[in-house]
Amino acid sequence: MTAPVYDEARAAELRSWYAAHHYKCEVFRQKLDLLVRTELDQQSILNARLVSRTKTIDSFVHKAMKIDPRTGTYKYDDPARQITDLVGMRIVMPLSTDTQPAVRLVQHVFTVISHERRGDETPELGYSGEHLMVRLSEDHPTTAGLRDFTDIEIEFQVRAALEDAWASLQHDLVYKSEGVVSIPIQRRINALAGMLRLADSEFVQVRKDQAVTAEAAAAQEDEASTTAAGHDITSAALRSMVEDVVGDTDRVDHTWFLQLAEVVAQLGFIRLADIRSALGDAGQRVPNVRAALTASRPYTNSVQIFDQLLRLAIGEDYFLARSGVDAPRDLEAARSSFATDRAALLTAVGTI
């Protein structure tokens, strides 16, 4: 069977259709990007790199005009319905052991149409990653504002960083060769996939070993601190307290707890019990405070929430104590801002 002659009219019709549809896809992509970033932060899936894209018009037409070499006819006889990767999201996590929380997030927020784990189906080395085709869930509250886009399917890819690096380079090489790559070259490319998988496994082990070392160091620090005049505030102890009061500290970088230790030192606290006493009932307001803060600042973490609880509970004395140690550039503006923000948060969460 001979391949059809390039049908300019078909290409023009497809281009026109997608040109009319593309804007909606792009608006959806931007809203989806913000939604997914917010959800990643809400679930404390930090260190995720999110890449999103809307298929370009040229790319859509190129794909829609592809010929199936087996049949000699168009691969897609109804491209508008059959080409489903108009909006693509890729979540790249540092290591392969980090990908499952991101996959579960996608499964939780969206309605999954199909889910494929690529790379495990054969012993041969090569591409690996999780592919999910999804659409908006009618049940999930975060998608309530996107009802106009329920007809658009979304392709999610979830990969580890080294898987992503290999896939990007391999795609670049194969795409530039227009799909013609010799077997020896392909073998070498696939062997590199194996090397990167080994590297990923090694990084996983290094991370585990580092965690063990850090725990041991923190335990030693705690022991040393508690023996010195009853002072028991350390960054590790603060992490435990914040976990107890607010939760979700797993992926908060340790430098935030070092900074929190500076804050409580400026406030004059030397014992954890004094901090708990100052907080009083403020801990009961955590859900309200979290909701109020993340509504406008989706990246807010548990240390920031804890700090806001201290500001709410201690009031103006919080400002006086800290500014006495480290005065802001414009003291009056800072004082006014502190009072305004505190009042707004109290209105949002109720009196403490």
Binding site: V27, R49, L50, T54, D253, W256, L258, F319, A334
Partner: protein, 148 residues
């Protein structure tokens, strides 16, 4: 700074970042003449906001430690810069040690001018870096072809 002049930046990642933290993060050293407002172009659209540039921090360390220091500060400006650093670092937007941070008026602020988003119909991107346009011209345009 000239409030009637808008620098419209290519904003694939910058537009979602602005919506998250009312800021624009870019390489150190980039200057935008005396434009008093910043707009965003992505997805073949000049988005319908011209945010006022409220403050520019010329070089900010892009790290969790610096984000923590700034976010927990008493200084409201440092808090805003910190939130921009936090958003940039968390979202993977920042891949260098230091960036410049522009604090912008929020989308709903009275200082922000809004207008109907402007479609770009041309074969290639309207800008891949940035372009300067008068605010009045953006407010009057329906497509980029209407902008002088």
């Amino acid at each position: 700074m000239d409030d009637s002049m808008v620098v419209v930046v290519a904003a694939g990642s910058a537009w979602p970042l602005y919506q998250t933290c009312d800021a624009y993060v870019c390489p150190v050293g980039r200057t935008f003449r005396d434009a008093g407002r910043l707009g965003f172009y992505s997805g073949r659209t000049i988005h319908g906001v011209a945010a006022r540039i409220e403050h520019v921090e010329p070089s900010v360390e892009m790290s969790e430690a610096e984000a923590a220091r700034l976010c927990l500060s008493l200084d409201p400006r440092e808090q805003r810069v910190g939130q921009a650093v936090q958003a940039a670092v968390t979202s993977g937007y920042a891949n260098v040690s230091h960036n410049q941070v522009f604090l912008l008026s929020s989308p709903k602020s009275p200082a922000t001018v809004t207008f109907t988003p402007i479609r770009h119909e041309g074969p290639s991107a309207w800008t891949q870096k940035w372009r300067y346009r008068a605010l009045a011209d953006l407010r009057a345009a329906t497509t980029t072809a209407d902008i002088p």
